[in-house]
């Protein structure tokens, strides 16, 4: 029983990270109907920047905030330069640009920061908590992620800017007519997604250690979580992320063994897309002929 609770708690901790990345994916999907394959690489690059700042002597939380700001700016820049022209392009074009972005950022991470595996400091105390079921870092990162998600929710729900962003994603044409600058809103959306992704990167790096290919596996779980919850539903993505975290841990511990955890995510993705493509909380999309 103790082992079971361990796995569940650890799954929730992992799930918080998947939920963050899944939220970033969903934000971009809602706004542009494109899946951001480069989300993981953006997060990795941001984490490297954070590490550089920390090694340069900047205190952790200051480096954290600086990285958030840098990621936000980078996300906005990428949207403006690369994604804006691809708005109406065929699927293959946009997929190609995303993959190209993935390659470029992955290469930049390796080029500027090297391929050796590095350790990343955790701001949370390193002792068991909650009766020994979770580590300090797991508890801290889960709490931080939940706080961030709550802030994002409040932003979208109760601020005018959040409302404008939702409008721009929901119906760009009508939003333009009422005066919303859709392009700027998309840029903000990308910036926010990049910032959330960077938080996820900084929270997971202490656990899996930092190298340019850190986020591929996590991206897979995030895809699974986003699809499970509904690719156009932010709450669904968050719940899906947590669910995938728990399923992954329990499945890895009791069903398929740790060596097949990634395949479990693949199975989730395929089953969701085949059985209920809109996910648990997504809206069914009807297309006209």
């Amino acid at each position: 029983m103790q082992g079971f609770i361990h796995q569940v708690m650890s799954g929730i901790a992992n799930g918080s990270i998947y939920a963050s990345v899944a939220l970033a994916l969903v934000m971009i999907y809602k706004a542009t109907h494109h899946i951001n394959f480069a989300q993981g690489e953006l997060a990795t690059f941001s984490t490297f920047i954070a590490l550089t700042l920390i090694h340069a002597g900047v205190p952790y939380w200051l480096a954290f905030l600086a990285t958030l700001a840098i990621s936000f700016a980078a996300g906005m820049a990428i949207e403006r330069l690369l994604m804006r022209p691809m708005m109406n392009a065929p699927v293959l074009s946009s997929v190609g640009v995303f993959i190209g972005l993935l390659l470029v950022i992955n290469a930049c991470s390796g080029w500027f920061f090297g391929y050796t595996i590095k350790s990343f400091p955790s701001p949370f105390p390193n002792r068991p908590m909650l009766g020994g079921y979770v580590s300090g870092h797991e508890l801290g990162s889960t709490a931080l992620t939940l706080v961030v998600l709550l802030l994002v929710y409040l932003f979208f729900r109760y601020t005018r800017l959040g409302l404008a962003m939702r409008a721009a994603a929901f119906n760009p044409a009508s939003a333009r007519l009422v005066g919303v600058r859709v392009g700027a809103m998309l840029g903000l959306g990308w910036g926010l997604a990049a910032a959330i992704g960077s938080i996820a990167g900084m929270m997971v790096a202490p656990i899996v250690f930092l190298d340019p290919n850190m986020m591929f596996g996590i991206l897979l779980y995030a895809f699974a979580g986003a699809l499970l919850g509904g690719i156009d539903n932010p709450l669904g993505a968050v719940l899906g992320g947590f669910a995938v975290g728990v399923i992954e841990n329990l499945g890895g511990a009791y069903v398929v063994g740790t060596e097949l955890k990634l395949s479990l995510a693949l199975v989730i993705i395929v089953s969701v897309l085949v059985v209920k493509p809109t996910g648990l909380l997504g809206r069914a999309v009807q297309s006209r002929v």
Partner: protein
Amino acid sequence: MTGQDGAKPAFAASGEGTLAANGTGAPTLWGDGTAMAGGAAPQLQGNQRRTILLVVLAVIVAAAIPTAFFNGYHLFQLTMVVVYAIAVLGLSLLIGFNGQISLGHGAFFAIGAYTTAILMANWDVPYWLTLPAAAAICAAVGFLIGLPALRLEGHYLALTTFSLAIAIPQLLKINAVSTWTGGVQGLMIDKPDAPFGLPLSGDQWLYLFSLGVGCIFYLIAWNLTRGRIGWAMMAVRDHGLAAEAMGVNLALLKTRTFAWSAMFTGVAGALSAIVVQFVAPDAYGVFVSIFLFVGLVVGGVASIGGTILGAMFIEFVPNIATQLSKAAPGAVYGVLLIAVMFLMPQGAGGFVHSLYRKFRR
């Protein structure tokens, strides 16, 4: 239905066959490819046929010449170009001609490679016999993967296949079958010697062998894309619903195309195992699938000749770029991929073809 010389089928007319069938006039990736694929005319004129035949023969002869002059590493590189060309050709059938985006073809490459390695290492099957086996197995797996792919469009299929690409190394490391697959360490196989006592070194023979296999598969692809199945594939790509209304069995065609595509890439993988003499799970990570995709796009998405350019790109760019930095190949691929998407969506092959068409007038 085919109209005059150079006309495409009626249902592909709008927007020159963009995948966004609302005719936004967005840059077309497939439209020019259709022309390149010979969709311009179902039958070539007599002297056009002769020219193409002569060009192809000249290319084959030119490709065979290095056997005498290069050896060792350079011949190995050329052999890998042929291998990648077949792999990219398989991907071209699926993405370029049928419009199903797969970012996970490294899976078939790996399955083909492992089939060969397992057969050769465990049961001493002769290397040339493993190729049909790899082809059959990969075709079957491709068909099976094509079945759920029927329900996925565009981004979702890309996403699913991308996830498959990420998961491959783990799948190859499964403990249960590691007695056959060699687990994490992989398998080593012996390099075959030239048969019948021919005075060729192992490298030279492998190069000619791969060239022969390549010629066979290019011939198959050429015939496939110019026949009824090719028309049906392109019709499904351009407007699936209209194709179905015209009588194309959409489900069967898409799964069969997946099977064909998987077979090509699988045979390429099998050849690669023979050439490299080593398979290991971590050699077939997500970047294999991504590089195949990049090679395809750079060469020209629906261009059969372009696949050769793409293969050369995949093989030689890392060698040149690694002298700059270990990270440079990825950067070069990424930048070129984005540049091609923006500036030259039909890729190098399509670009060459459009030049050719300009000169023909």
